[in-house]
C-alpha cells in the first residue's frame, strides 16, 4: 500500500514530538531524519511495528566521523525499507566521540548484528546491549579504529614511498 513521505513524517512527529525528529530533508525523494540517540529505539520500533508503514527490513547501517562537529563527532546512519510499498527512510543519529554509546538494533533487526560489529571495528562506536561486540574484519589485536579520521589510511611502516627513494 502506497503512502507518502509526508504521512510517515506526520506519524513520527505526532507520536514522538517534533523535538525527537530533527533535520528533516528529502534528498532524491528519500525521507531523511535525524533523531536524538535516546529516541532511536523508540522511533525504529515505531516504524517497524506500524501497521501501515511496516519498515520491516534493514537495508544497511554504517558509521560516520565528522571531527569538526564538536560534541557530535561520531554518527550512525540507518537505512530502513518497507517492502510492501517499496519505500525507504534514512535515520541518522550522532554521539560524542568521548562517549560513543548507541543502543543496539540487534533486538529489532537481526541483520544489525554483523553490521554493528563492523561499525564497532572501524569507528569504535559501542553498541549497548549487543550480544557479541567484537572485531569482525580487522585483526583481533588491532588497537585503534582505522576509519576514524585522526588515523592515517596508509601503512606507516612502508619505506618505498619515502622521498629519498625518488631523489626528492
Amino acid at each position: 500500500m502506497a503512502y507518502s513521505n509526508e504521512e510517515v513524517l506526520e506519524y513520527l512527529q505526532g507520536t514522538f514530538g517534533p523535538e525527537s525528529i530533527l533535520d528533516v530533508s528529502e534528498p532524491f525523494g528519500l525521507l531523511s531524519i535525524e533523531v536524538p540517540v535516546s529516541r532511536l529505539i523508540a522511533v525504529v520500533t515505531g516504524l517497524k511495528s506500524h501497521p501501515q508503514f511496516q519498515f520491516t527490513f534493514m537495508t544497511d547501517l554504517c558509521g560516520m566521523h565528522f571531527p569538526e562537529q564538536k560534541g557530535r563527532e561520531l554518527g550512525m546512519v540507518y537505512m530502513l525499507h518497507s517492502w510492501g510499498s517499496n519505500t525507504r527512510i534514512r535515520i541518522r543519529t550522532f554521539v560524542p566521540i568521548e562517549n560513543p554509546l548507541v543502543p543496539t538494533l540487534e533486538g529489532i533487526y537481526k541483520a544489525a548484528n554483523w553490521m554493528e560489529r563492523e561499525t564497532y571495528d572501524f569507528f569504535g562506536i559501542i553498541f549497548e546491549g549487543h550480544p557479541d561486540l567484537r572485531r569482525i574484519l580487522n585483526v583481533d589485536d588491532m588497537d585503534y579504529f582505522p576509519m576514524r579520521k585522526e588515523y592515517p589510511l596508509e601503512d606507516q611502516t612502508r619505506r618505498d614511498k619515502v622521498d629519498e627513494m625518488f631523489g626528492r
Binding site: 574484519l137 580487522n138 585483526v139 582505522p146 588515523y151 589510511l153 596508509e154 601503512d155 611502516t157 612502508r158
Partner: protein, 179 residues
C-alpha cells in the same frame, strides 16, 4: 629428435660408471622435482592457474604436483595480497614446511604490498618470512612466474646440502622469529 633430458652435472664418466659429488646429485634431484605449495589469495593466483594449466605447463620444470599440504612441499609460492589478518596463517604454513624450503613471492602485493598501501595489508611478505625470489608485476604473466620458478631451480641446484645447517641460515630464521 631433441634431447629433453636434464644435462648431467660435472663428474667423471667411464665405461658403465659416472662419479660426481653428492651435492650435485641432490641438487639435480631437488631442482627437477620441486613441489610447489600455491598460496594464492587474489589475481596473481589466477595467473598461477594459467601457469599450472596445460598451455604454460609448470610441470615441464619438474613441478608436476602442486602440493596443497605444506608438509610435502618444497616451494611456497605466495601469489596475491596478504592482509595482516592472513599473515599469521602464511607464517604458520611456512613453518609447517620441512627443510629444504624455498619461497617465491609473486606479484607486487606479495613483494611490497603493491597498490594496497593501507592499514590492513601486509607491506610485503618478507616482513614475516624469508623470500628467495621476487617476481614483480601486477599481475605478472605466466612466463614471468616460470622465470621465477627457474630462478628457484638455480638456487636449488647450486645449494650446498649443508647450507640449511649454516650459522647464517639459522640467524636468518632467528631474525624472523622462526625456530
Amino acid at each position: 629428435m631433441v634431447n629433453t633430458n636434464v644435462p648431467a652435472p660435472q663428474g667423471i664418466e667411464g665405461q658403465g660408471f659416472f662419479a660426481t659429488t653428492l651435492d650435485n646429485v641432490v641438487g639435480l634431484a631437488r631442482k627437477n622435482s620441486l613441489w610447489p605449495l600455491p598460496f594464492a589469495t587474489s589475481c596473481c593466483g589466477i595467473e598461477f592457474m594459467a601457469t599450472m594449466g596445460s598451455h604454460y605447463d609448470i610441470s615441464r620444470f619438474g613441478s608436476e604436483r602442486p602440493s596443497f599440504s605444506p608438509r610435502q612441499a618444497d616451494l611456497l609460492m605466495v601469489m596475491g595480497t596478504i592482509a595482516k589478518k592472513m599473515a599469521p596463517v602464511l607464517k604458520q604454513t611456512y613453518m609447517q614446511m620441512s627443510e629444504p624450503r624455498w619461497v617465491l613471492s609473486v606479484g607486487a602485493c606479495a613483494c611490497s604490498g603493491g597498490i594496497f598501501d593501507t592499514y590492513s595489508v601486509l607491506q610485503g611478505i618478507d616482513r614475516i618470512i624469508p623470500v628467495d625470489v621476487y617476481v614483480p608485476g601486477c599481475p605478472p604473466r605466466p612466463e614471468q612466474i616460470l622465470e621465477g620458478l627457474m630462478k628457484i631451480q638455480e638456487l636449488a641446484t647450486t645449494e650446498s646440502t649443508r647450507r640449511r645447517e649454516s650459522e647464517e641460515y639459522r640467524a636468518l630464521l632467528e631474525s624472523y622469529n622462526i625456530h
